[in-house]
């Protein structure tokens, strides 16, 4: 017996049975295709929707919380910042260059949909070990694709992160984040309204592009000799995207759009249904008006095509001529494809016949939602250091650690990204958070993405907290006050009870941390089922965060500055090797991040920065204090001498992680004021800046990292690994 079409499309028996109760009859094929995509995990968040309600989403400066194409926060003087992070994992695994490139294109259009001008991009990447040829291919091509798209549309890619681990060998992660600038009173929403208003489709023509649902649909419907009708991989067209940006922003500035929506997953179906459902109106669409790239496309194909570089604008009839003329000046196709009705139904005509006529809300609001099964994993076992040999040559271990792909310089990546276009990048990639001046303002934003995936694997609640705090510390190290977050929850199959539990726990931990530092989540994305029969990814909740600096000129960098500056460790974190880079795998029982301690550390960092007391700051993360000191010294081209306490095993002291610690430097004259400001935050002077090596005195011995040798170890890894 052949599997029924609805199951091949991913609908369960129960979901399929529910459709007639919503629309009063059996669905047509086109309608079934629409239901299957709109009720997919990707569009409906059916396994995560209930859990996501836990996130704190409110704050005095939130102008747009989750639910629109992107979130937005007030940054003063009438301006707002839009932000959103999103995954393009599966398409990137199929075709890394185009998959990653179109991922960038998609997130940029989400920001554009608010009427915001994209001003910065970041990328968060996970691949299998660089020893695997497949992972090298995915990594190098994904980086090339991200660079190609971002460079060509003129939005600087100012930061990101990458990690390599066998757990991502079968399911790589490609997440992209975009930040945009918009007038606070000019934020566009996606809700359609006003009977007779027109839907205008702008941008690329519609072809048989699609990877997810659309291809299943086609393979179910097409015989093998119809190969040329198979959906094709989406090919990126950044040139058209740039024109789309210029054109839509010009029209938004003219108040020509009543609403704006990008076409992403599930294409027109999703875009139009969401506009209708949000506005509580109906839409009547004429598929014959959609410019097609190929002949003979079926109604269902047009409805779910995922052709890129398309936007859907809602326009009043009297503004139409202006909109069409502007599109034509930008050499972009634009067509009126439908009108707003009062029926509440999504109606589509094709060749004169009605092929779809269903309540728009049936596809959106009535989508299923499930509780994930939750079975706690057993508690992690602490590392038994007695069974882990200590390195006998700490100096060699230090250099080796610095050269590991997860810790080595990421210059090979960001040198392929235009991180300067727009002339607003104040702190370039290579430090903690990037700092970007808000165009036209005295203020600047600090931006970062971070995730503590090994910690999440061992203790999801603690790892959720750690991911948020790592992002917040990176922001705070620049002197910026953490302001808002977006998140991308990359997980394995949530229908497995251990994954469901991890998802819930991570969200709980992230929420606790976000509440502790009063940072709301204003947007996000979920990517589930990142597993193969052989392996599942670590829980990877990537946190994208922005922070605000009142004075763009006051940001703090991570480079050691001048001879004689004091080197200080701030915060109460205790170095531990559990889940560390030094151990190199998810082993041990990392400490639960302390909510009050982290919040106090971040608060202290920022308030001292406001008084201009820091010469540099860099948080302690992967590789421990040894790597933090090495990076700051390399960036500054000057060394330091420090003495570390002998209270633990030397490799723990040097390479231990844990969060809640920052290495900062200050002028000796600032120390008294810092001590007064620190309150409950422990601060310890450990040494001073100077020399051309990093010298660590530990238990009577001196461990030395020569900067010139370190630089070679640090810079050579990635170029050599991919050569």
């Amino acid at each position: 017996m052949t599997t029924p079409l609805y199951r091949q499309l991913g609908l369960t028996d129960g979901e399929f049975a529910h459709i007639p109760t919503l629309i009063g009859r059996a669905p047509t094929d086109a309608e079934l295709a629409m239901f299957s995509l709109m009720w997919s995990e990707h569009c409906s968040y059916k396994h995560s929707r209930r859990l996501l309600r836990r996130f704190p989403t409110e704050g005095p400066h939130v102008l747009q919380g989750p639910g629109e194409n992107a979130g937005a926060v007030d940054v003063g003087d009438g301006w707002a910042i839009a932000l959103k992070i999103e995954s393009h994992n599966h398409p990137s695994a199929v075709e890394p260059f185009e998959g990653a490139a179109t991922g960038v294109g998609g997130i940029v259009r989400d920001i554009l949909a608010l009427g915001a001008r994209p001003i910065a991009l970041l990328d968060s990447l996970r691949f299998g070990s660089l020893e695997s040829a497949r992972s090298r291919h995915l990594f190098t091509r994904a980086v090339a694709g991200i660079g190609h798209y971002g460079n060509c549309i003129g939005v600087p890619t100012v930061g990101g992160e990458v990690a390599f681990d066998d757990r991502y060998e079968d399911s790589c992660l490609v997440n992209a984040m975009c930040i945009g600038l918009v007038r606070a009173d000019g934020i566009l929403r996606a809700a359609a309204f006003g009977e007779g208003n027109l839907l205008v489709l702008i941008g690329n023509r519609t072809g048989r592009d699609g990877i997810g649902g659309a291809s299943i649909l086609a393979s179910a419907e097409l015989s093998s000799d119809d190969a040329d009708k198979r959906p094709s991989v989406q090919v990126s067209d950044p040139f058209t995207e740039r024109k789309l940006m210029d054109c839509c922003l010009e029209l938004a500035a003219d108040s020509a759009f009543l609403a704006l929506q990008d076409l992403g997953a599930a294409g027109l179906t999703s875009a139009a249904c969401e506009m209708a459902a949000k506005g509580g109106v109906g839409l009547e669409i004429d598929l014959d008006q959609i410019p097609l790239r190929e002949g003979g496309m079926a109604a269902a194909e047009i409805l779910v095509s995922e052709s890129q570089e398309r936007m859907l604008g809602l326009v009043a009839p009297e503004t139409l001529d202006h909109v069409l003329a502007t599109c034509s000046r930008w050499e972009l196709d634009a067509s009126v494809i439908g009108t707003v009705t009062t029926t509440g139904n999504f109606t589509a005509r094709h060749h004169g016949a009605i092929v779809v006529d269903i309540p728009a809300s049936a596809l959106t609001d009535d989508a299923p939602a499930y509780d994930v099964p939750r079975t706690p994993a057993s508690a992690p076992t602490p590392l038994e250091l007695d069974h882990i040999p200590a390195p006998d040559d700490l100096q060699a271990a230090w250099a080796e650690l610095l050269a590991r792909p997860n810790l080595a310089s990421k210059r090979w990546i960001y040198q392929q990204y235009d991180h300067l276009v727009g002339a607003n990048t104040i702190r370039r990639p290579g430090g903690d958070a990037a700092v970007v001046r808000i165009p036209g303002m005295k203020r600047a934003l600090a931006i970062t993405t971070d995730c503590a995936e090994r910690h999440c694997e061992l203790d999801p609640r603690g790892g959720g907290r750690a991911s948020v705090f790592e992002a917040a510390r990176n922001i705070a190290c620049t002197g910026a006050l953490p302001l808002a977050a977006s998140d991308c929850l990359n997980f394995a199959n949530p229908e497995k009870a251990s994954t469901g539990w991890r998802l819930a726990e991570v969200i709980e931990g992230m929420s606790e941390a976000l509440e502790a530092i009063a940072v709301p989540v204003v947007s996000g994305n979920v990517s589930l089922y990142n597993e193969s029969p052989e392996r599942a990814i670590y829980p990877t909740p990537v946190v994208g965060m922005i922070g605000l600096l009142d004075d763009a000129g006051s940001s703090v960098g991570h480079a050691l500055a001048s001879e004689g500056d004091l080197v200080i460790v701030l915060g109460g974190g205790i170095a531990r090797l559990d889940a560390s880079e030094w151990i190199g795998a998810a082993h041990g029982a990392p400490a639960l991040p302390n909510l009050d301690g982290e919040a106090a550390l971040i608060g202290f960092m920022v308030s001292a920065a406001r008084e201009g007391l820091w010469c540099s700051a860099h948080d302690i993360s992967g590789g421990g204090i040894a790597i933090t000191l090495a990076e700051s010294a390399l960036a500054g081209g000057i060394g330091c001498m420090v003495t570390l306490p002998e209270d633990r095993r030397p490799d723990e002291v040097l390479f231990g992680e844990s969060g809640e610690r920052i290495v900062a430097t200050c002028r000796p004259t600032a120390l008294a004021r810092l001590t007064a400001l620190a309150g409950d935050v422990p601060i310890t002077v450990i040494g001073s800046v100077g020399g051309d090596s990093v010298d660590v005195h530990l238990g009577g011995a001196t461990i030395r990292l020569d900067l010139e040798i370190a630089r070679v170890a640090y810079e050579a890894t990635l170029p050599e690994a991919v050569a």
Binding site: E95, G207, D228, R230, V233, V235, F239, Q308
Partner: protein, 78 residues
């Protein structure tokens, strides 16, 4: 030594932004009657060995063409 010519073209149905851009430019230069422009690559290889065509085909499969979005042909040039 054999000279093998490889041509790699975007597959039918796959977006060809380059071809579209060139087509637009030719139109603006005043050329008319252009139905379609498709842009691809031509790779000329000089190869030693017993089976140059087979080698070139394998090169296409492993590096020169991206089977998901491109079609290729190989031919011996005389």
């Amino acid at each position: 030594m054999t000279r093998v010519v490889v041509t790699v073209m975007p597959r039918q149905g796959v977006l060809d932004p380059q071809g579209q851009a060139v087509r637009g430019a030719l139109g603006r230069l005043g050329f008319s009657g252009i139905h379609d422009v498709r842009l691809g690559r031509r790779i000329e290889l000089e190869l030693d060995g017993p089976d140059p065509l087979g080698t070139a085909r394998e090169m296409c499969e492993r590096l020169l063409a991206n089977a998901l979005i491109e079609d290729f042909t190989v031919a011996i040039e005389d």
